[in-house]
């Protein structure tokens, strides 16, 4: 939090030319908040991974600081008074952080054992589908922002239900796959040297997944569709330990992408969006791409911002992220990159990597298959999401709309990702809890058999 406070101070120094006496207020609020969460964790999940909260807190805090910096810059430009601590995008983000962290704490308090979640797996699967579908069936006026139908808009508030669906779907996939993994991995037909499972075993999972993908195509959210696809393929792979799933997944993915590109070039229609993004990605600096509406303008401005920042950045508050459209949301990483430079971004990247790898480590360590799949799926999805959006804005892969976890402005994303972290904390607590039920356990005491997963009759424990 000292870093966040320092960041806030530098922003004020660069923007106002002086540091106001109250620069530390947002950082202090966040400190109290995260301390509160830490205490909750100490109480209800004493063995939880100690790295997760500080790493997420740092990213979240910098995000709040950067959004507040944008507000301050705008109010200076408009000669408005500097917004209060809960006003403006930065203030809202602070408020959302508050809500999200409290929700995470509640989740930790309510769900004392992650395996209880598996009891509601089918419900969660259904909820996930419904959440994903709501915006698609709502009229555009209630669900459309910038051409993508992803939201539920209620007056001043809007939520992105798809963010929460991610959590629900992971739980459902994990539960179903754990129940069926023996069948899936054993009863299969070999074709062209690759093992294909029987259709009826995979049915429900594929149905749920296809439904969500279809809906996302109609909602024009390629990024999330890609995320769900990755999530599905990876949980399947982890559950069955069959590399064939990866091969099938990758072939389907790249084939689909190429087909969509060709279709977009040939017939346009629903594929035109994809074709546009691909051409823009291939040559963002071509003037016909740059000047076209919906062309590479924001990608180029993002790249120019990153380039201007260079190795060391211009310093917090001293850049001009205002040139980058959507700098509050999709392009926040480019906006920050201008001011904190390659070194700052690398540090952020390492924080993300730390969170993801800690999540995967939790999955490795936890002893039940359901926990493994949930933790692994969530951690991988988080990593994939970071890769998709950062790869997009740095020109590595075609740009797809995604929030940057914990950084981008937006309550849904924050809440969903904090809930994700709460899940990981809960599972990591189980993973790191000594098997004998207490730290006082002495060697030589025989290990208790691990608790059976509810309903998982075919489960075979393979630590």
């Amino acid at each position: 939090m000292a870093i966040v406070a320092l960041y806030g101070a530098t922003v004020e120094a660069n923007q106002f030319g002086e540091i106001t006496p109250t620069f530390w207020v947002p950082a202090a609020l966040l400190s109290v908040l995260f301390l509160g969460l830490h205490l909750v964790v100490r109480y209800v999940a004493p063995y939880a991974d100690p790295v997760l909260i500080p790493a997420v807190a740092l990213i979240n805090g910098l995000g709040v600081g950067f959004l507040r910096r944008l507000d301050v810059a705008k109010s200076i430009a408009d000669k408005d008074p500097v917004p209060g601590y809960f006003a403006g995008a930065g203030g809202r983000q602070l408020a959302w952080t508050l809500v999200a962290v409290v929700l995470a704490a509640i989740l930790l308090l309510v769900v004392r054992d992650h395996k209880t979640v598996s009891r509601y797996a089918y419900t969660l699967g259904l909820v996930g589908i419904v959440l994903v579908m709501i915006p698609a069936v709502l009229p555009g006026s209630l669900s459309e922002v910038n051409g993508a139908k992803l939201w539920i808009k209620m007056g001043a508030f809007s939520i992105q239900p798809g963010e929460f669906a991610k959590l629900a779907l992971v739980s459902f996939f994990a539960y179903y796959l754990v129940r069926k993994r023996e069948v899936l991995s054993l009863a299969s037909r070999r074709f062209l040297g690759i093992d294909f499972p029987r259709g009826r075993d995979l049915g429900p999972v594929v149905t749920v997944w296809l439904l969500s993908l279809l809906v996302l195509v109609f909602e024009k959210d390629l990024g999330t569709a890609l995320l769900y696809f990755g999530l599905f393929v990876v949980t399947l792979y982890v559950a069955t330990e069959r590399a064939s799933w990866l091969i099938i997944g990758l072939v389907m993915f790249f084939g689909g992408v190429y087909l969509a590109y060709l279709l977009g070039a040939a017939v346009g229609g629903p594929f035109a969006n994809f074709y546009d993004r691909a051409t823009v990605w291939l040559d963002p600096f071509a003037s016909e791409n740059y000047e076209r509406v919906g062309g590479s303008y924001q990608l180029v401005q993002g790249l120019l911002g990153l380039g201007t920042g260079g190795l060391f950045g211009t310093g917090p508050g001293a850049g001009s992220p205002g040139f980058v459209p959507e700098v509050r949301n999709d392009f926040i990483f480019a906006g920050m990159g201008e001011e904190i430079g390659l070194f700052g971004l690398s540090a952020l990247l390492i924080c993300y990597l730390l969170i993801v790898e800690r999540g995967l480590r939790t999955a490795l360590a936890v002893r039940d298959s359901f926990g493994k799949l949930v933790a692994g799926g969530l951690a991988f999805t988080l990593g994939l999401q970071v890769f998709v959006i950062l790869g997009g804005i740095t020109g590595l892969i075609p740009l797809t709309g995604q929030t940057t976890p914990f950084l981008s402005a937006g309550g849904s994303s924050l809440m969903a990702n904090w809930l994700l972290i709460a899940m990981l904390l809960r599972i990591s607590d189980a993973a790191r809890r000594p098997t004998t039920g207490g730290p006082a356990a002495s060697p030589g005491v025989p290990k208790q058999p691990p608790a059976q997963l509810h309903g998982a009759m075919t489960e075979v424990i393979r630590p």
Partner: protein
């Protein structure tokens, strides 16, 4: 299930590795390209963080800065609006700069090597004073007179230009182009309004954005006879040498006969060279040109500056405003032999001969300066932000097309034009004025262009100014008389005598 999880971890590591590598590429390797990209608005913001240098003349700022409250901290202001627009140009936010603002951009913005020491000291003192200042050679009185007279010419011409230079140094004393524009709206920080204004000016059929004094060429008409006279004098002719004349002349192998502008102009079969120039005898010069031959005429024109593609007017050690090349045309038949009819036409400044207003002024200045043509310049001085002189213009000889004797003869002949011939309107009390009028036919059915090139000597015998005035499509005939009148007033103002 741990093996696939570990592999997933490796996949994440690889993906993040790719991100990191790409970030290095973007922020390390490509950083400079991106930083200086044309698409990068931040470059503009940086440019407007410190005040740009002032362009000034006689202690008066012509391009100054006003502090603003916006992201761009300084607004460029041109207090004289249209008066200096063709010289100074403008420095807009989103499109390329023009004029002196362009050619001295590095110095004005403070990025020039000449200001390196200032930048270093600013780094230590933390007090960045901004860019260096540019002092122009223009004489405000001459500029104001030229602008007022050309834009309010008594004959109702809608377009024109004028250039006045100091014959002995090449310093530009005045340069106007008409119609012109107000640069202030073009540099507005409201870039959309600025772009709209630019679009409007650019699409205006009268082309107010053109600097007609430098970038446009026109048929020079009889002013070209000065060059043919010079060629003859160099070939051994004298002022009193008689050349064939007559009321009409048809060149060998051609159709249309060449006539004089008035029936009473050199009707006799012979006329002296001096009389031919004084009365602007077309038949005399057409025959003289044919007699001298195509090569002589073309070579002479080149020696005086025709066909020069790379002349700039600005800083003598650096860039400036580009001057379009004046051309004589080939005067040749398709088989390469001399087209005598074209040669005859060209010798009186018609056919394919084209000249800039600047070239006209240079011709007059060359005669006034004893045959030495000085390179014209606009930037008199460059001053550091704290007004230390960084550069002082040291006049350069551009070329010496004629020797002193020829120059002296030409001067006498041109003085005779103003005292006894077609250029009487250019006379100034107390000065010896010489010159040559030109009335150039251009398009069929269009009014003639009116030209005057000339010079003035003060009572001490010093050349004080050389001028070229060009009015396009002057209604009502005798187009050159108005040009001559205006030229006289400009030279008087340049000599410090009038213009108030």
């Amino acid at each position: 299930m741990n093996a696939p999880l570990r592999k997933a971890g490796v996949v994440i590591l690889v993906l993040f590795g790719l991100l990191f590598a790409n970030l290095n590429w973007v922020q390390g390797y490509k950083a400079d390209d991106y930083r200086t990209s044309d698409y990068n608005g931040r470059v503009r913001v940086a440019e407007y963080q410190v005040p740009r240098g002032v362009i000034e003349v006689g202690g008066q700022g012509l391009a100054i800065n006003k502090a603003t409250e916006g992201t761009l901290k300084f607004l460029r202001v041109y207090p004289e609006k249209k008066l200096y627009a063709p010289i100074i140009g403008y420095k807009p936010v989103n499109i390329a700069e023009v004029g002196i603002e362009r050619s001295e951009n590095e110095f004005l913005s403070g990025a020039s090597d000449k200001l390196f020491a200032d930048r270093v000291s600013a780094m230590f003192t933390g007090d960045n004073a901004g860019g260096g200042n540019v002092v122009l050679s223009v004489k405000p009185k001459a500029q104001e007179t030229a602008y007022k007279q050309v834009t309010n010419n008594e004959r109702g011409a809608k377009k024109g230009s004028a250039v006045a230079i100091d014959p002995s140094t090449g310093a530009v004393q005045a340069m106007v182009s008409f119609p012109t524009f107000d640069p202030n709206p073009l540099v507005s920080h409201d870039t959309e309004a600025a772009a709209a204004e630019y679009k409007k000016l650019n699409e205006d059929k009268d082309k107010p954005l053109l600097n007609r004094a430098l970038s446009e060429t026109y048929p020079p008409g009889s002013t070209f006879k000065v060059l043919v006279s010079a060629a003859a004098l160099q070939e051994g002719y004298e002022k009193s040498t008689e050349i064939p004349a007559g009321s009409t002349y048809t060149a060998p192998g051609s159709g249309a006969p060449i006539k004089n502008s008035e029936a009473e102009t050199c009707p006799g079969s012979k006329v002296t060279l001096e009389e031919a120039l004084t009365d602007s005898c077309n038949t005399g010069f057409a025959q003289l040109g044919v007699e001298l031959g195509r090569d002589k005429v073309m070579k002479t024109a080149q020696a005086w500056g025709f066909e020069q593609e790379d002349l700039t007017v600005g800083n003598l050690e650096g860039p400036g405003l580009p001057v379009a090349a004046s051309h004589t045309g080939a005067m040749a038949n398709p088989d390469g032999s001399t087209d005598q009819a074209a040669l005859a036409q060209s010798s009186i400044g018609q056919k394919d001969v084209r000249m800039t207003t600047m070239q006209g002024a240079l011709m007059a200045a060359t005669v006034a300066n004893g045959g030495r043509q000085m390179r014209p310049y606009l930037v008199q001085q460059l001053l550091s932000p704290d007004r230390r002189p960084i550069y002082n213009a040291s006049p350069q000889t551009l070329r010496t097309p004629i020797d002193g004797d020829v120059a002296s003869d030409l001067k006498d002949m041109m003085v005779s034009v103003v005292e006894n011939g077609t250029g009487k309107a250019a006379q100034i009390d107390g000065f010896q004025v010489g010159g040559k009028t030109g009335t150039a036919q251009n398009a069929v059915g269009a009014d003639d262009h009116g030209w005057f090139i000339g010079f003035a000597f003060n009572d001490k015998g010093e050349a004080v100014s050389a001028v070229c005035v060009m009015l396009e499509n002057v209604p009502g005939g005798h187009a050159s008389a108005e040009a001559a009148r205006i030229a006289g007033l400009i030279m008087k103002a340049a000599a410090g005598r009038g213009g108030d």
